[in-house]
């Protein structure tokens, strides 16, 4: 394979046309590099990225690429391998905000990104972030520090969970139990942080919106 990549029609419709052909070409080149000229990538291909090794949440990031919920497929679970279309789908979660978005589009945009994050936190795919999963996240985040206590990470996660409970549920009765953070609660927690502007990678800047239906 060489020359201008043949971008299949489903790709452009999936991405809602927010990525230019130049950027698709760049990503295609990168995809070929990662897959070693194969048509699909597996989890092992991500090992060839040297800088990713030092990332504490490496596992979760790679996992997110294969998570079927992110690939907009109706099924659940993990895919074994992904093709270029799926790769682009995941990358499209990181596209920046566009100037001419209205309220509804903005809201959908934001929810999309937060759903991606939610899936990363919720590793057992049950739609809730339980205390154990939250602990897992904090432990991974602080794993770069070899001398930090596992117990400290646990208590930090416990504390954060309590905070989340107080934000989402307010006052709880004595018999009420807080199961876990649902997606609605998750949205509430992120209210203060403007995810639309923070969660983007700059190379996906939009210059033109290609309409190719």
């Amino acid at each position: 394979t060489g020359g201008v990549p043949r971008v299949p029609a489903p790709v452009t419709s999936v991405l809602s046309l927010a990525v230019t052909s130049e950027q698709i070409e760049h990503l295609h080149r990168r995809f070929k590099q990662l897959s070693q000229d194969q048509l699909t990538i597996r989890k092992e291909n991500f090992d060839s990225i040297p800088d990713l090794e030092f990332n504490p949440i490496r596992g979760k990031i790679v996992h997110a690429f294969f998570d079927k919920r992110n690939l907009r497929q109706e099924s659940d679970g993990l895919a074994d391998e992904i093709n270029f279309e799926d790769f682009l789908t995941i990358m499209s979660y990181f596209r920046p905000i566009e100037m001419n978005m209205d309220e509804e589009q903005l809201d959908r945009f934001r929810k999309e990104k937060l759903k991606f994050l939610f899936h990363m936190y919720d590793s057992d795919h049950d739609g809730k972030i339980t205390l154990q999963e939250y602990r897992n996240v904090v432990e991974e985040l602080l794993s770069g520090n070899p001398h930090l206590e596992k117990e400290s990470a646990r208590s930090i996660a416990d504390g954060a969970m309590m905070e989340a409970a107080s934000i989402c549920v307010g006052q709880m009765g004595p018999d009420q139990v807080y199961e876990g953070i649902t997606f609605e609660d998750f949205l509430k927690m992120w209210q203060g942080i403007d995810i639309e502007t923070k969660m983007h990678v700059r190379f996906l800047n939009v210059d033109t919106i290609a309409h190719c239906y």
Partner: protein, 585 residues
């Protein structure tokens, strides 16, 4: 009466005393600080003092000596600003800040200089002997936004973080440009002919001044961090090192004709992380309070002296020139901000709204730096004109712009600072996002903002931390630091409320795990951290933590007529915590 012997220290102390008493006076009357910013009131007090001295002595009161200002009064304020600068928003917006500071200032200088030269050509104003070079020189000292004035005014209006950091960062970093242009034009004034080589030399000099300042600052900062590595046994003088090294960096930069402000800021920002990990909790508090105290005193003195120096015979009141100076300052600043923001918004996702732009333009206050620079001008026959113009501009910006900016912020409904308490959850999320974006940048092969940040962090953890931090002190991530800070706060509140008295053994466990980790290192060094946290102790800590955090939750949203906040049933809470725990296991 041996007055001569003690005169100098006595007078200095009296001035400082006056400044502090004035400050108390303002805050006694509650409504005043909200209407009139403190800086205005201080200048007013200075005017009164100057008037009194003039009336008594019938000659001009002592003008603030530029040396005193630059060497003694300015460094504490800039150090305070640099040390407590929130580094995250600063570096996120560093491109925009540099653009405003460098390009914006140059634009203002040349704009004001040329337009004033145009005014001087009008015969009716009797200003023809003011040459272009003089006008440019004047432009270079009046164009720069002053960090002291900006800090004084913006501190009280609480605009959103991004806006604040843009204006403030610009006011700090434009010092490099101001220094270069001022010295350049001054030397041009004295040179018989100017060749284009000199102009290029000036441009090159700017880079030397700016980058040199950063280098000097960073080297002193890292040396300070290294020194504090060995201060375990002499805790008492730890705070002193912070101040000594910062001041040295400022003086060294000034000695080499580099930008002292940029040096002291780089020093403070560079050393902060490591020094705070190395010094004890008490030293940290001492550093914080001394810095705030000194900068507060300096700030007050500067404004009072500004007022005092206004009175007297140093001025030549040529009103057309003065009025046009004020007008041009406003116009060129507004134009500069508009044009630059247009460029910035094209490259950035997070745009700067027009309301924000207005506040940035309106918040371009001039202050004492301009004032001291004008007094440093070589004596030529029109110097008094410049002094008068500078005085009027400063008074205008501080009084009129300073007083009206708060109502304007309210009127325009500019986005204000988020007044919520920091939460551990937020820290976790932000950190998670950082790593996620760095990972995505790695995967997509793009070297972006997060990639470089990640690289810097890696370099830091592998090399810098090993050298600059003490061996057994493990660097703590910001999540852990925030968490510990909140825990300390709650533990202290509880201790004060007498709640920790339930089990006498517990406070010490809480202490050893969290409080004493920074304040009393001798306890920890004998045993490793692992040993102090055996399972039984851990359970206690977990319970205390859960109880404390439960307390936050309860005192938040609910107001119960029958129970006071904090007056909750221990059994109830314990039951709930157990339910939560069992569910999650």
């Amino acid at each position: 009466l041996d007055y001569q012997h003690v005169q100098v220290p006595f007078e200095i102390t009296l001035w400082i005393m006056l400044a502090s008493l004035a400050k108390i006076g303002f805050h006694l009357y509650n409504k005043l600080p909200s209407v009139v910013p403190e800086s205005c009131l201080l200048i007013f007090v200075g005017l009164i003092m100057g008037g009194i001295i003039y009336g008594l002595n019938d000659r001009s009161p002592p003008v603030m000596d530029s040396d005193i200002f630059f060497l003694y009064l300015l460094p504490p304020i800039v150090l305070d600003a640099g040390y407590f600068m929130p580094s995250r928003p600063f570096f996120e917006n560093i491109g925009t800040i540099l653009l405003y500071a460098v390009v914006g200032t140059i634009w203002n200088v040349f704009g004001i200089g040329f337009s004033l030269y145009g005014i001087c050509q009008v015969k009716a104003f009797h200003l023809q002997d003011v040459s272009l070079l003089h006008n440019l020189l004047f432009g270079s000292l009046i164009a720069a936004v002053d960090p002291v004035a900006v800090l004084a005014v913006f501190e009280e209006i609480h605009v959103n973080e991004k806006l604040h950091i843009l204006v403030f960062g610009e006011s700090l970093l434009n010092d490099a440009v101001t220094v270069v242009l001022y010295k350049l034009f001054r030397s041009f004034c004295e040179m018989p002919t100017i060749k284009s080589m000199d102009v290029f030399a000036g441009v090159g000099k700017f880079f030397v001044v700016g980058l040199g300042g950063v280098l000097v600052g960073l080297s002193f900062g890292f040396t300070a961090a290294f020194t504090t590595r060995f201060t375990k046994d002499i805790r008492v003088i730890e705070p002193l090192f912070v101040f000594l090294y910062s001041y040295l960096s400022y003086l060294t930069a000034e000695m080499f004709h580099l930008s002292g402000i940029v040096a002291i800021i780089s020093c403070a920002m560079g050393m902060k992380r490591y020094v705070e990990a190395n010094i004890s909790l008490k030293s940290h508090t001492t550093v914080k309070y001394f810095m705030k105290m000194w900068s507060s005193v300096s700030d007050t003195l500067i404004f009072i002296f500004l007022g005092v120096s206004t009175i007297g015979e140093n001025h030549e009141w040529n009103w057309p020139y003065i009025c046009f100076t004020v007008i041009f300052c406003l116009i060129w600043r507004a134009l500069g901000v508009l044009v630059l923001t247009f460029f910035v918004n094209r490259f950035h996702v997070n745009t700067i709204t027009s309301k924000d732009q207005f506040i940035i333009a309106y918040g371009g206050l001039r202050g004492a730096i301009c004032f001291s620079l004008v007094f440093l001008l070589p004596d030529f026959h029109r110097k008094k004109l410049f002094i008068a113009a500078t005085t009027v501009v400063i008074l205008f910006t501080v009084f009129i712009q300073g007083m009206t900016i708060r109502p304007l912020v309210d009127l325009l409904a500019v986005k204000r600072k988020r007044e919520s308490a920091p939460t551990v959850g937020e820290q976790i999320h932000i950190r998670f996002l950082d790593h996620l974006l760095a990972g995505i940048e790695d995967i997509s092969g793009h070297w972006g903002q997060y990639y470089w940040k990640d690289k810097l962090e890696y370099f830091n953890s592998k090399y810098l931390q090993k050298i600059l931090l003490r061996e057994y002190d493990q660097p703590k991530s910001s999540i852990v630091l925030l968490y510990e800070k909140l825990e300390r706060k709650h533990a202290m509140e509880l201790a004060q409320a007498g709640q920790l008295g339930h089990s006498p053994a517990q406070p010490s466990f809480l202490c050893s795990a969290f409080l004493c980790s920074s304040s009393d290192r001798t306890v920890i060094t004998d045993q490793k951290l692992e040993d102090t946290l055996n399972p039984a102790v851990l359970d206690n800590i977990q319970e205390i933590l859960a109880r404390n955090l439960y307390r936050i939750r309860r005192t938040g949203p609910a107001y119960n007529r029958h129970t006071l906040p904090g007056d909750t049933e221990p059994a109830e809470q314990a039951k709930e915590i157990l339910i939560l725990r069992h569910k999650s296991l």
